[in-house]
């Protein structure tokens, strides 16, 4: 057991993946000497060399496109996209080339590529540094999209993502990078909870709060506050945004009859709507209230001085709980 931050856990996980599989390569902008703008790859180029920790030219489509070639050759590239807002130039390579290779080749070719991305807002930065693009990827068949919310998941899930034979979009909760937690590295990869499973964090009987990434901590805070008023919230960390672990969600909502999905991304077209629709289909008779959404609003990300009003907080979750209970 040791205490470390999410970013340190990512770094440790990457190191272990590289230790255990020589085919694992890291690619990205400024990941070498600098160790990445968030230091996720700190020290790795020093220890694994410049051809396993590759500083690339400044071109995202080029990074993902060449990673695809490297994967076809037999490597396991782990690509870092420096910020969520800079992934779009690589969109064609990700959703058209990367996501479909296995399908297109009827299983003959596979691309075990992991694309790491810090995501979400709340760090007081300028435009393009606080985005939540997860829905674009979650709605793309062939991609696996996962998000970690604590050091333990950061450490194990990044290794599971790299070990996966499918391409994985790995989302890291930027503003929680320095959140600390206990980490036990002794377990082995196959024995820990798989990344495609949702995780029940808090049991409760009144209403299910479903979240992922940076808003998991917000949901937990809301649960603590609600408990003080005797309201028992059940908190689930979705972890896998695509495919969804509907079984775990269904079991919970069958019990509580109420659900609220929380994320920073806009409501419209976000993960919340898909989760809500699936729950309506699978728990129709058990729903005591419509599934509700507490999310970022349907606008582009606002200037940072007012971002706190845009991001979901515990109060907004509790208001939604009240609304749900009022049905």
């Amino acid at each position: 057991m040791e205490e470390l931050t999410i970013i340190q856990a990512v770094n440790k996980g990457l190191r272990r993946a590289m230790d255990s599989d020589p085919e694992v390569l890291l690619m990205g902008e400024d990941i070498g000497k600098l160790g990445g703008v968030f230091r996720a790859t700190e020290g790795l180029q020093k220890d694994f060399g410049e051809d396993r920790v590759i500083d690339t030219p400044l071109a995202e489509s080029g990074i993902v496109g060449t990673a695809i070639g490297l994967a076809l050759y037999g490597y396991r590239p782990v690509v870092e996209i420096q910020f969520d807002g800079f992934v779009y130039p690589a969109f064609d390579q990700i959703v058209v080339q990367l996501a479909r290779m296995r399908y297109r080749s009827a299983g003959a070719l596979q691309l075990p590529i992991t694309i790491r991305m810090p995501f979400g807002g709340g760090i007081g930065s300028v435009e393009h540094h606080g985005e939540s693009p997860e829905a674009y990827f979650a709605s793309t068949p062939g991609l696996r999209v996962v998000a970690c919310a604590d050091p333990t998941d950061a450490y194990w899930m990044i290794q599971q993502a790299i070990a996966s034979d499918d391409p994985v979009i790995f989302l890291e909760p930027k503003r929680r990078y320095y959140q600390k937690g206990e980490l036990d590295t002794t377990a082995d990869l196959t024995s820990v909870l798989p990344m495609y499973k949702a995780k029940l964090l808090v049991e409760g009987s009144d209403c299910t709060i479903i979240s992922y990434g940076p808003t998991v901590a917000t949901a937990l805070q809301a649960a603590r506050l609600a408990a003080e008023d005797g309201v028992k919230l059940e908190v689930i960390d979705l972890r896998s945004l695509s495919p969804l672990d509907l079984e775990t969600l269904k079991t919970s909502v069958m019990k509580t009859g109420r659900a609220i999905v929380v994320h920073e991304a806009s409501s419209s077209g976000g993960i919340g709507g898909e989760v809500g629709q699936c729950l309506m289909q699978s728990c129709f008779y058990n729903l005591k209230a419509p599934v509700l959404r507490v999310t970022g609003y349907d606008t582009p990300y606002p200037p940072s001085r007012i971002e706190d009003h845009y991001l979901p907080d515990a109060d907004r979750i509790l208001d939604a709980v009240e609304k749900s209970m009022s049905y």
Binding site: G69, A71, R102, R104
Partner: protein
């Protein structure tokens, strides 16, 4: 077999390579077994050189498969439709060869090179230019073979560039070569040399093969809307097959007998294709649910069951 290929070009069930036989066969024959190639939808000549059965090529065009042949077996990636995207895949694959120590060893059969085939229009896509950046940055063993067939569907090459495309190379710091794309021997020579440079660790090369798209862009295109016959005439006179025939006749390699035999071969191949094409089996409807992910997926399994039920009702097995 160039003759046979021309016949295939005339099959017209697809994007015809008519007029570009020399560029494709000439360069395609320069690849060694351990090399790897990435092509567009028009490089049937390359597929032929990599040992793909023309009948298999038809699977893609008939819509029975997204990828017509086994990429691993032929060391040839399937037809790429997204213009330019594969230039980056080729560059990455070449970086892989480098990383695996399969470059510059000098051991025969060990060193690898990669070729990316694309057209004049592709030179405008960001991906192709980023491929030049990565290839030079890492000095990857990749050869970019651009067939300038004068047209990108209805747009003449000058809409993409006012200067020769080969000149683009210098600007990125890789050598650029311009070759007569209708001279099969020249195309073979420049490609072979570029591949040797790549394998021996001297880095990437851009080759512009100047040729002409004699046919329509695809069978659904009507060139009369955007180009007059004049150019066609001009280039018909430069027909690469005809040039090769005359050359081989002068060298006494090609005689009536051999020609007749080639013609027979071509005819029978054409016949076999006509027949086999119609016989290509349709995939089973349920196969559309296969290979989305490595493992199984609950959503997809449920959807498969849904379609299975429908098929059972309809009595489809």
């Amino acid at each position: 077999q160039a003759t046979a290929l021309q016949r295939q070009g005339e099959l017209g069930l697809w994007a015809p390579l008519l007029g570009q036989e020399a560029a494709q066969i000439g360069s395609g024959r320069a690849l060694e077994a351990q090399d790897y190639a990435f092509t567009t939808y028009r490089e049937h000549g390359i597929a032929w050189c990599r040992g793909v059965d023309p009948v298999d090529m038809l699977r893609f065009w008939r819509g029975t498969m997204h990828q017509s042949w086994d990429a691993n077996l032929h060391r040839l990636y399937g037809y790429q439709v997204i213009i330019g995207a594969h230039a980056l895949h080729a560059t990455g694959y070449a970086m892989g060869a480098q990383h695996a120590g399969r470059v510059g060893t000098g051991e025969p059969g060990r060193d690898q090179a990669v070729v990316a085939y694309f057209g004049d229009g592709a030179m405008s896509e960001g991906d192709v230019n980023e491929a030049f950046v990565f290839a030079t940055a890492y000095q990857a063993p990749v050869v970019f073979f651009c067939q300038n067939n004068q047209w990108a569907i209805s747009e003449p090459t000058k809409r993409q560039s006012l200067v020769p495309l080969a000149q683009r190379a210098e600007g990125f710091g890789l050598p650029g070569v311009r070759v007569d794309g209708n001279d099969v021997i020249a195309c073979h020579a420049v490609t072979a040399e570029a591949l040797n440079r790549a394998r021996s660790g001297q880095g990437p090369t851009l080759i512009e093969a100047v040729t002409y798209r004699m046919g329509a862009h695809t069978t659904s295109d009507d060139p009369t809307k955007y180009r007059d016959g004049a150019d066609d005439e001009l280039w018909r006179a430069r027909d690469p097959i005809e040039r090769l025939r005359i050359h081989l006749q002068e060298k006494n390699v090609l005689n009536e007998e051999l020609e007749a035999e080639l013609a027979r071969e071509a005819a029978s191949l054409a016949e076999r294709m006509r027949v086999s094409c119609r016989e290509l089996p349709d995939p089973h409807p349920l196969s559309m649910f296969d290979h989305v992910y490595a493992g199984s997926d609950a959503r997809i399994d449920e959807q498969r069951r849904e379609v299975k039920a429908i098929l059972d009702e309809e009595g489809v097995s």
